[in-house]
Subunit: 415 residues, 2 copies
């Protein structure tokens, strides 16, 4: 139950892609007969993505990219650099994906000021803080549609309205939400929206950026002028075809899938909180993605749970997939007010249409045993049950950990 990190492709999607690897291998820019089927496939995929999110003008508004990360970079840097004469202030939140946070940080080097909005204990962005943060230099607001770690759904329509009133561009990273819950870019006042194929049973290596036709961005990848000059590079036709099919299926199956995953999610939440003492739900109970069940457990580390589950054939995660190889705890959980030690105890379960009640029951048998086993050998847990005041202890630990973290700190520019 780690579908956030990597999904198998839907067999129907794969079948749809196959001919574009082997038979329809043309280049849509060519003049000869091989270009026609790929041109049509490209148009069709664009149409399906547009229908999924109710974009008005597929041809003008759907830009294919290499994935969610590139789309986020393009939205944020592209909008910022294109509109830098209007202002140099960007507002985002403290629980965004690293692609958003690091795109914003890269813009700080170019003279942009970034406001990282706080969130409440459930991960909801504070609307009052947003309103207060807006200045006449603000040119972009970037808030994710739903959080990938704790599943919290943000008040997107409200943010869209605020941005619209102030004539500020609004980008939402919808990687964790698009195709899983209904989204309407027109109704919700969304100017730019990031989508990823692999998060909806489509292939890896392809994504899209919705760019409302009134929104102007600068390309971040220059070249032959594909995608209306906004994203150059020979089109990844099989990937785009697969993404289009995945979007079509996502729309068709959305209602059923929401029903199915919500049921499994609620089984997980009810039983884990019921069966395990000092287990807590992270994120929001109601404003929550149907496929997300995220927890934390006192006294143990999420990493150990994930490794033990893996031995039992269950895949899970302890936070965002891309950050898992660092020793730092989730910045998302920290932003919801959890301490360093608390955030380390997290377990993220993400569900798909392929999960069954049997899967969930098996996991519900194993997790309590694993948690007990780990707690038996956890000095931290011993202190908790003995009623030791942990505040000063934790303070000591945190300082030790911070030092360790410092040694492992990742310098993205060093070779």
């Amino acid at each position: 139950m780690d579908y956030q990190a990597g999904m198998p492709i839907d067999p129907i999607v794969f079948e749809t892609m196959k001919p574009y690897f082997t038979e329809n291998f043309g280049n849509p820019s060519s003049l000869h007969y091989l270009s026609q089927p790929v041109k049509e496939a490209l148009t069709n995929a664009r149409q399906k993505i547009a229908e999924l999110i109710n974009a008005e003008t597929p041809k003008k508004e759907i830009i294919f990219t290499s994935g969610g990360t590139e789309s986020i970079n393009m939205a944020i840097k592209g909008a910022a650099l294109r509109n830098k004469n209007e202002g140099n202030h960007i507002i985002t939140s403290s629980i965004e994906h690293m692609a958003t946070l690091n795109s914003c940080k890269s813009l700080m080097k170019e003279g942009f000021n970034i406001t990282f909005l706080p969130v409440d204990e459930h991960g909801i962005v504070d609307i009052e803080s947003l309103k207060e943060a807006i200045t006449d230099k603000t040119i972009l607001i970037s808030i994710m549609y739903a959080n990938n770690e704790i599943g919290t759904i943000e008040p997107i329509k409200e943010i869209g309205e605020i941005a619209g009133d102030k004539k500020i561009y609004f980008h939402t990273d919808a990687v964790a939400a698009a195709g899983k819950i209904p989204i309407d870019v027109q109704e919700e006042n969304i100017g730019l929206m990031t989508l990823s194929s692999n998060d909806i049973y489509g292939p890896k290596g392809v994504g899209a950026l919705y760019v409302n036709k009134r929104v102007k961005v600068t390309p971040i990848i220059h070249g032959g002028g594909q995608e209306r000059g906004l994203r150059s590079g020979t089109e990844n036709i099989p990937g785009i075809v697969g993404f289009g099919k995945a979007a079509e299926l996502a729309k068709e199956n959305m209602e059923d899938e929401i029903k199915h995953t919500t049921e499994l999610r609620d089984m997980l939440i009810k039983n884990i909180l019921g069966k395990i003492e000092r287990a807590y739900l992270t994120g929001h109970l109601v404003k929550r993605m149907p496929n997300n069940a995220s927890f934390r457990f006192d006294g143990i580390e999420g990493e150990s749970i994930v490794l033990k589950l893996s031995q039992k054939g269950i895949v899970a995660s302890t936070g965002s997939a891309c950050a898992s190889q660092t020793l730092e705890p989730s910045h998302v959980l920290r932003a919801t007010g959890l301490s360093h030690v608390e955030a380390h105890g997290s377990l993220l379960l993400t569900l798909s249409k392929w999960n069954t009640v049997e899967d969930v029951n098996y996991l519900l048998e194993e997790v309590p045993k694993i948690v007990s086993g780990l707690r038996e050998i956890s000095p931290l847990w011993q202190m908790i049950v003995q009623g030791v005041d942990l505040e000063s202890k934790m303070q000591e630990w945190m300082e030790g950990m911070k030092e360790e973290e410092h040694h492992h700190h990742h310098d993205e520019n060093s070779l």
Copy 2:
């Protein structure tokens, strides 16, 4: 014979990729058991790319991207922005791919000066001009390994030595050459090199940038820190696996393929020049890619030849694939000294291991008929055979065309 624009994937490559769509769908950053096979696959692919070009340290020097265009952008912008404190001058040539030309142009807006070196009539970059262009502000030289339209192979080792002596970074766009002719990045003093998968029978949507371990670049796509922080985004594992297999096969089959395509290429050149009057080879006769046969014909337009060939089931091109939808003639042919009208008469044939002597014979039957047919209805050809002095006529035409071009000029920032 338009393999430069789009290649079918090698069936062996596709078979190798398949399990990574359906079974091995893990994320290499995850902690559970699904990550192991994809981690290994990633390491193996990196190793195969490194072996193809004799890179010393696969893990540190091979960065996977979404394709040739992104790699070129990353090499040029990444090197320029990282080293802008050392200088703001970049040298490239006038026959580069649009990804190089437009990346350079985008840097001009940020205060960089670009020198576009001239080439001789065969498309060879002028080494003396290169030496003269170097100043103490020069931080990057970017010259393609081989040209994608006229097949000319540039004096890369010599350029690498000049760059090395002056301690200037050297990037070469090897999209048209890597995997087709032997390349040794160490022997040839190459600091940065762009490779594309689809040009060697691998899947679309994946490429690589070789970054010598002493070369420092800034990422252009920020996020979760994949590819050692240089290229964030969930890895396109099936694509990378396919690219790795394609690189392995390219190395194994290189000698045979060079022999095969050279034979077909020379059949094409000999017969087209022999059978058709006022037909000319473009590019260099000897310093030429084995898979490239490019021509121009007086009195007719390349676009018409391509369309007529398409009716006969033959795919061909009249220049770089990405530029074919504009009305402008090839900037490459113009740079070799051809007039606007001459450059419009170009036909590009690119060969693969799958082309046969029968393919070539069929094409050699059709091309002369098509050229004659088109010339019969060409007013320009009538003037040529009647011995009209075309100089003044052409001048008039060119001005008319320039105006038309102006109307069609592509503004990459406009939505």
